[in-house]
C-alpha cells in the first residue's frame, strides 16, 4: 500500500489479506522504481490510497499521478492496481468561493477522478476504490483524528481504518470473483408489506407513497442487483396462484415473474424450498443469500443450511433500501465490472429450465440434442472476451478439469504472448443465446493444457467434445506430438472426471506430481493424448 500519509493501522484491518506499507510520501517513486516494494514478486495488488488535502497542497503531484498509475499498470499487467478517488475537505478559508473556482480543490479532484476512471476503463488491472464509501459512512468527526495527525501523520481514526479495510477486502474479493450468485427472497413482509393471505392483493403494501414506497424502493434495488448478474429466486409460504397473480398483475410491483430464475411458492418449509431451488439451478447452497423478515425462518435456515448466507432484515421498512445496498449487495455480491453476459443471466437460466423440461419428454438424448439446433462459436485469442474468460475460471466448479482461477490480466497475458492459445466456446440454441460458456488454454511450446472448463449451464450437450477437438487440432497444427493435462479433483468437479479418458486420453504412469499432500483418492491425475 502506497500513501502520502501514515496508514500503518490499516495493515491488520483488511480481512483475508496480508498488507505491507510502502514508505509514506514516496508514491511516485515507488510506482516508477523497479527496486521498490511495489515490484516485489508475490505482490498481488498495489493500493494507492491518498489523503486529498495533503496531495492538493503538494503542487502538481495530483496532476502527475494518473500517468504514473497507467505506466505501472502497463509495466506489471499481472498485478492489480487499486487507486482511491480523492476526498477533499470542502471547507477552506475561501469559504463559498471554493465551489465556484475552476482551479479550486473541488475542480482538481474532479479532474483527477475522471483521469483515473479513464485509466480503469482501458486497463483490466486498474480498479478504483471510491473513498466516499468510507468518508460518508459515519460522519467526519468520527473519522478524522487531528491529535494523531500531528503526533504521527495518521489522519484518521480506527473507525476509518475499519471501514476502509472492509471495502478494500471487498474490492479484492470482487476482483477474484469471490461472490455469491443467488438471492432468495421471501414475499410477505419482505418484498411487500403485510400478509397476502390475510390482507388480500389490495391490502398489501407496495406503492409509490406511504409505507408501500419502502417496499417498492427495495424492489428497485433488487431488480438492479439482478441486472449485475445475480439470479433471483422466491421462497414463500403462500397460495401459489394468489402470489403469482400479485407478481404478474399487481400494478405497483417492480419485480415480475420473469425477473426470477425460479420460484418456490407452496407450504413447504424454507429449508426444503432452498434445497429445491439449489437443485433446480444446479448451484451450490454456498452461492445463496437468503432474505426473510421472519426471524424464525431465518434461524431455521441458518441452523439447517449453514452454507447459506442468512442476512438480518431490519424491522423498520424505511431502512430496507439502504440496508439492502450496504448489508446485502456490498458484503455478498461485490462486483468490479458488470459485463453484458451478466445482464442476460436470468434469461439463460430460465431457458435452461425449459430445456430440462424438454429433455424429460424427448425420446432419447441424441434426438433431443439434435432438436436443440445448437450453434457454436469457437474463437481463438479474442481479447474482447478476456473479462468473461476470467470470470468463468473464477465461477466454474463442476466441469472444470484443473480449477485454476485466473484474473483478467493473466488471461490477457496468455492471449498476447506467443506460447499460449486461448480458445473460447460460445453457445446458442433455439431457446436462447448462452454467450461464452467454455474455455480452454493450450501451451503450444509444451503441449500442456492448463485450463479446460465448461459452464454447468451446458453440461450434457456434448459441446465440450468440440472444444477439446479444437485444442487437439491446434496442437497438431503447432507440430506437437502429444497434449497433456493434469485433472485435479475437487469436492465439486466429479462430473468432469471421466471426460478425458472417454476422449482416448490415457493416464501417464509413474510421473511424480510435485507439491501434493492429498490422499490417493483425490490425487491429481496426469493425462496425455498421443496425436501422431
Amino acid at each position: 500500500m502506497l500513501s502520502n500519509v501514515n496508514l500503518a493501522p490499516i495493515v491488520r484491518r483488511v480481512p483475508g489479506h496480508t498488507v505491507t506499507m510502502g514508505e509514506y510520501g514516496e508514491v511516485l517513486r515507488a510506482l516508477a522504481d523497479p527496486g521498490s516494494g511495489a515490484y516485489r514478486p508475490g505482490v498481488d495488488a498495489v493500493v494507492v490510497l491518498l489523503d486529498a488535502d495533503e496531495i492538493l497542497a503538494a503542487g502538481d503531484l495530483v496532476e502527475e499521478l494518473p500517468d504514473a498509475i497507467a505506466a505501472f499498470s502497463a509495466a506489471r499487467p499481472e498485478v492489480l492496481l487499486v487507486a482511491s478517488t480523492l476526498h477533499a475537505d470542502p471547507a477552506t478559508v475561501a469559504t463559498y468561493a471554493s465551489a465556484q473556482d475552476l482551479e479550486g480543490n473541488g475542480s482538481r479532484v474532479a479532474r483527477f477522478d475522471t483521469a483515473l476512471r479513464a485509466r480503469a476503463a482501458s486497463s483490466a488491472n486498474v480498479a478504483i476504490l471510491d473513498l466516499g464509501l468510507v468518508f460518508d459512512s459515519h460522519g467526519r468527526d468520527a473519522l478524522i483524528a487531528r491529535a494523531f495527525w500531528y503526533a504521527g501523520r495518521i489522519p484518521y481514526t480506527n473507525l476509518w481504518f475499519e471501514e476502509c479495510g472492509k471495502h478494500l477486502s471487498g474490492l479484492l474479493d470482487a476482483y477474484r470473483g469471490l461472490t455469491r450468485k443467488v438471492l432468495v427472497c421471501d414475499l410477505d413482509g419482505t418484498l411487500w408489506g403485510g400478509v397476502l393471505g390475510e390482507d388480500g392483493p389490495g391490502g398489501i403494501a407496495v406503492a409509490e407513497d406511504g409505507v408501500g414506497k419502502c417496499y417498492r424502493d427495495l424492489q428497485r434495488r433488487i431488480k438492479a442487483l439482478k441486472e449485475t448478474g445475480v439470479l433471483l429466486a422466491v421462497a414463500s409460504k403462500n397460495d401459489h396462484a394468489d402470489a403469482e397473480a400479485v407478481l404478474a398483475d399487481h400494478p405497483m410491483m417492480i419485480l415480475r415473474p420473469g425477473d426470477f430464475a425460479t420460484m418456490r411458492i407452496d407450504w413447504s418449509d424454507k429449508v426444503t424450498s432452498l434445497r429445491a431451488i439449489a437443485d433446480e439451478l444446479s448451484l451450490g447452497l454456498d452461492t445463496f443469500v437468503f432474505i426473510d423478515d421472519n426471524p424464525v425462518e431465518r434461524a431455521l435456515v441458518a441452523q439447517h443450511l449453514p452454507d447459506v448466507a442468512v442476512v438480518e432484515v431490519p424491522s423498520r421498512p424505511e431502512l430496507l433500501a439502504d440496508w439492502f445496498v450496504r448489508e446485502v449487495a456490498f458484503p455478498y455480491f461485490p462486483r468490479l465490472r458488470i459485463l453484458d453476459a451478466d445482464r442476460a443471466k436470468t434469461e439463460q437460466y430460465r431457458a435452461r429450465r425449459e430445456r430440462v423440461a424438454g429433455a424429460a419428454e424427448a425420446p432419447d438424448l441424441h434426438a433431443f440434442l439434435a432438436g436443440l439446433e445448437i450453434r457454436l462459436d469457437l474463437r481463438v485469442d479474442d481479447e474482447f472476451l478476456v473479462e468473461r474468460a476470467a470470470q468463468m475460471t473464477q465461477k466454474t466448479n463442476q466441469f472444470n478439469l484443473t480449477t485454476r482461477r485466473c484474473t483478467a490480466a493473466e488471461i490477457m497475458e496468455w492471449i498476447r504472448d506467443d506460447r499460449h492459445t486461448v480458445v473460447t466456446l460460445g453457445y446458442g440454441d433455439r431457446f436462447g443465446d448462452e454467450g461464452v460458456v467454455g474455455l480452454a488454454v493450450l501451451d503450444r511450446s509444451t503441449g500442456e493444457m492448463p485450463l479446460f472448463l465448461l459452464s454447468c449451464r451446458v453440461i450434457g450437450r456434448e459441446v465440450e467434445v468440440r472444444l477439446l477437438d479444437r485444442i487437439e487440432d491446434l496442437a497438431r497444427a503447432s507440430g506437437l506430438a502429444s497434449v497433456e493435462c493434469t485433472f485435479t479433483p475437487t469436492a465439486r468437479n466429479g462430473v468432469s472426471a471421466g471426460f478425458l479418458p472417454a476422449r482416448d486420453w490415457s493416464v501417464v504412469m509413474g510421473e511424480a506430481i510435485a507439491d501434493r499432500t492429498e490422499t490417493a483418492a483425490d490425487a491429481p491425475i496426469r493425462y496425455r493424448k498421443d496425436l501422431t
Binding site: 501514515n6 500503518a8 483524528a145 491529535a147 503526533a151 481514526t157 480506527n158 473507525l159
Partner: protein, 79 residues
C-alpha cells in the same frame, strides 16, 4: 467498572495493538519495556483507547500515556 477490570482491559488492549504474546504486558509495564511500544505502537494504542473507551486525549497528553498505570489513571478520570 472496578480499577482491576479496567486494568485488565487496558493490558489486553495494549497486547493486542502491539501484537505481543499474552503475559508480556503487566500492570507495571512502561513503554520502554517493550520494543514494539515505539512511536507508531504508541499511536496505535492511543487510537484504540479512543475507539474503545470514547476518550479523546489532547495532542500534548498523548506522550504522557506511556505506561499501563498512566493509561488506567487517564481513562478512569476521563471516561
Amino acid at each position: 467498572m472496578t480499577d482491576d477490570e479496567l486494568e485488565v482491559r487496558v493490558i489486553g488492549l495494549i497486547g493486542r495493538e502491539l501484537g505481543v504474546p499474552d503475559g508480556s504486558v503487566t500492570p507495571a509495564t512502561v513503554s520502554g519495556d517493550l520494543e514494539r511500544w515505539d512511536s507508531l505502537g504508541h499511536l496505535q494504542i492511543c487510537m484504540a483507547l479512543e475507539a474503545e473507551f470514547g476518550i479523546s486525549p489532547e495532542l500534548e497528553e498523548l506522550e504522557e500515556l506511556d505506561s499501563v498505570a498512566a493509561i488506567v489513571a487517564y481513562v478512569r478520570e476521563d471516561a
